[in-house]
């Protein structure tokens, strides 16, 4: 028998039926729901007189649109408030579990799923959000879907799918101190490009990935979509199982051993074949900073901004030129000379407790630079916030001049009041640096949490590794 990849196994385990042309009906174990991509789906269900197939598979929370400031005053934006209230009403009407805005468990949907143990190894996980790939960190098949598919999953517990191709991205060796999961994944995207993974499910493997914590693996899988792959995943190992154990939605004690026994098989077989294999030497990865308007426009912190004149591909060259104009940057400028106006530490990529600890480690005993107009820390969930406060991280941040906020998606996509103004430049731990992503005319540079904190302290990009030595 030919060996299977992790993706092959997950696919086969969830196959309800498959047609001769390869159109498959895939069973969905977990459906995460938020306020922005679900109202039209619930409306569709009502219009057709349909009911949810399995209410216990759904966990909902508002995250995209919620304010990160004092919540006792409610949501002041009436359009946003209506959307959040619509989610509340839909969950109540259809009998779904929701962690509402006042629940300590509320937060970014991709933070709370794993935090609650609602994301488990071997599951299929979907959500009307492209960063659903995050959950692949657990050896799960997780991907983002559109609103029509949200409705389809609620009504049928299944999705119509065609199988993707298999890609292995293997990062081997040891990363140097101060290089994080974010740097690894930015480097991968820089190497394969934003469409490099289109049509593939990516498995991230190799010793450098295995060495990451589950939170680090989530950061890597989160950005699989920025490489064009709907799904990213990492094999299950002891680190995964240890993380899941004891969480509210994890298997009960009676079922635990059977579950773990099954999860042990969630890795690619030794003789499995991939359609594409990418290998990266971990030792060559430096802290990364994006300079343009696509996550693939990324360089190491000690590099200079690339010169479009050196690009042979015409469409690519024009894209680079447009990006430089939009970003207000000049080719060949050292990245460390680029000053920033705002700093955002948060998002489904980097808002977990380890991210906050890494940022606090840099911020401790230092002050945010005078040229920084706003430095925001937005925890990924109420529970992350609570944990950080128990560790005193909030004090470190506020004493350094950062703002400590309530959980949500916040300035990652700027649907709420947290945004960049025209021309403002931001060091951001989020996942997309597209034109206008953080606000019309805003200029986003993607970095890891420690690098973002370092930029806040220095007022410009700086190699956090040199800062740490100085401190």
């Amino acid at each position: 028998m030919v060996g299977k990849t992790l993706y092959d196994k997950l696919w086969d385990n969830h196959l309800v039926r498959i047609d001769d042309d390869g159109t498959a009906l895939l069973y969905i174990d977990r459906h995460l729901v938020h306020e922005v991509t679900s109202p039209q789906a619930f409306e569709g269900l009502r219009e057709a007189g349909r009911k949810p197939w399995r209410v216990d598979s759904i966990v909902a929370t508002p995250d995209h649109n919620v304010p990160t400031t004092d919540r006792s005053v409610g949501i002041t934006d009436p359009v946003a408030r209506l959307q959040v209230e619509t989610l509340d009403k839909n969950c109540a009407d259809f009998g779904l579990t929701e962690f509402g805005i006042d629940d300590i468990r509320q937060g970014i949907v991709h933070v709370i799923g794993p935090e609650q143990g609602a994301t488990l190894p071997g599951m299929t996980v979907v959500c009307g959000d492209s960063h659903t790939s995050t959950h692949g960190a657990f050896g799960a098949l997780a991907f983002g879907i559109g609103t029509s598919e949200v409705e389809h999953v609620i009504a049928t517990q299944c999705l119509l799918q065609k199988k993707s191709k298999n890609m292995l991205v293997s990062v081997d060796g040891d990363v140097s101190d101060g290089v994080t999961a974010k740097d690894i994944v930015l480097r991968i995207i820089g190497e394969i490009g934003t469409a490099g993974g289109t049509g593939y499910a990516i498995e991230f493997g190799g010793t450098a990935i295995q060495a990451l914590s589950v939170e680090g693996r989530m950061t890597v899988c989160n950005m699989a979509i920025e490489a064009g792959a709907r799904a990213g995943m990492v094999a299950v190992d002891d680190t995964t199982i240890e993380y899941v154990k004891g969480r509210p939605y994890a298997p009960s004690e009676a079922q635990w051993d059977a579950a773990v026994a099954q999860w042990q098989d969630l890795h690619s077989d030794d003789d499995a074949t991939f359609d594409t294999v990418i290998r990266i030497d971990a030792a060559t990865i430096q802290p990364q900073v994006t300079w343009g308007t696509s996550p693939e426009m990324v360089v190491a912190v000690d590099a200079t901004i690339p010169d479009p004149a050196n690009e042979k591909d015409e469409v690519k060259r024009e894209g680079m030129q447009r990006a430089l104009v939009y970003m207000g940057l000049t080719a060949n400028t050292p990245i460390e000379d680029v000053q920033v106006d705002k700093v955002f530490i948060g998002s489904c990529t980097n808002s977990r407790i380890e991210d906050l600890r890494a940022a606090a480690d840099v911020a401790k005993g230092r002050k945010v630079a005078d040229n920084i107009k706003l430095a925001l820390i937005v925890p990924g969930s109420g529970l992350v916030k609570q944990q950080a406060e128990a560790e005193g991280l909030d004090k470190i941040f506020t004493e350094a001049g950062f703002e400590w906020r309530e959980p949500g998606c916040s300035m990652c996509l700027a649907m709420n009041a947290d945004r960049l103004e025209e021309g403002e430049r931001c060091a951001s731990t989020s996942n997309r640096n597209f034109e206008g992503r953080q606000g019309r005319g805003g200029r986003t540079h993607l970095v890891g949490p420690a690098m973002a904190a370092a930029a806040a302290i220095a007022g410009h990009f700086v190699d956090v590794r040199t800062m740490k030595q100085a401190g």
């Binding site: 991509t37 039209q40 409306e43 492209s130 879907i145 934003t194 469409v315 206008g436 019309r440």
Partner: protein, 212 residues
């Protein structure tokens, strides 16, 4: 979903790669709980000179005359000619809703992001893939000829240029069937209810923790 069979329409060339769904419909318009009304805000950041907000009267807003959507020669366009990796980024189905609401029924590009590609089919939009060299030629022809129209025939899987050149394209058989007949996926899937129940029964035996 409206069925799609054939369409003859004006082509609008959007000559940039990696157009993301936030460019197609910016995030502030996602606060709507409806499926319709997004067309006036399609490409909002590029189309207008000010910042758009939901509920705004768009008729009085300053127009970016340089943006292709605002050029008089492309008014009434129903076919969008685009570059590679079109529709990348956020999974928002508001992007195809906005394209459809504006009047586009066909997109032609060398490649698409997977989620956007999928979302198009659910809304009666045909996302056609063509080789980059063919796309290059189409851009040149569209820009050189005012009123340039293409004739799209889904059944025959062809695009015909004004000069009579016929370009074949591939489309998934199942998706083509759904588009041609305007079929609702959910209704089709629910014909397999017995299969879904049978799968669930088996899974409850092997992995009971998934059902508690």
């Amino acid at each position: 979903m409206d069925a799609f069979t054939t369409l003859k329409g004006i082509v609008l060339p959007l000559d940039r790669a990696n157009v993301d769904t936030d460019a197609i419909i910016p995030k502030q318009f996602l606060k709507s709980i409806k499926r319709s009304g997004f067309g006036v805000n399609l490409f909002d950041d590029w189309r207008y000179l000010d910042t758009g907000e939901p509920g705004m009267d768009n008729s009085g807003r300053p127009i970016n005359e340089d943006f292709v959507l605002n050029k008089p020669r492309y008014q009434g366009a129903q076919i969008l000619l685009a570059r590679k990796n079109f529709g990348c980024g956020s999974s928002r189905e508001h992007a195809p809703w906005a394209l459809l609401d504006y009047g586009f029924r066909v997109v032609i590009a060398p490649s698409y992001a997977d989620i956007f590609f999928n979302n198009c089919f659910k809304n009666g939009i045909v996302p056609i893939v063509m080789d980059e060299s063919v796309i290059d030629d189409l851009f040149k022809e569209v820009e050189a000829n005012e009123g340039y129209e293409l004739n799209v025939d889904l059944e025959a899987q062809t695009v015909t240029t004004p000069s009579g050149k016929v370009i074949k394209f591939d489309v998934d058989e199942f998706r083509k069937h759904c588009l041609l007949n305007g079929l609702d996926d959910i209704g089709l899937t629910l014909q397999h209810t017995d299969d879904i129940h049978a799968y669930e029964e088996k899974r409850k035996q092997t992995s009971p923790w998934l059902f508690s």
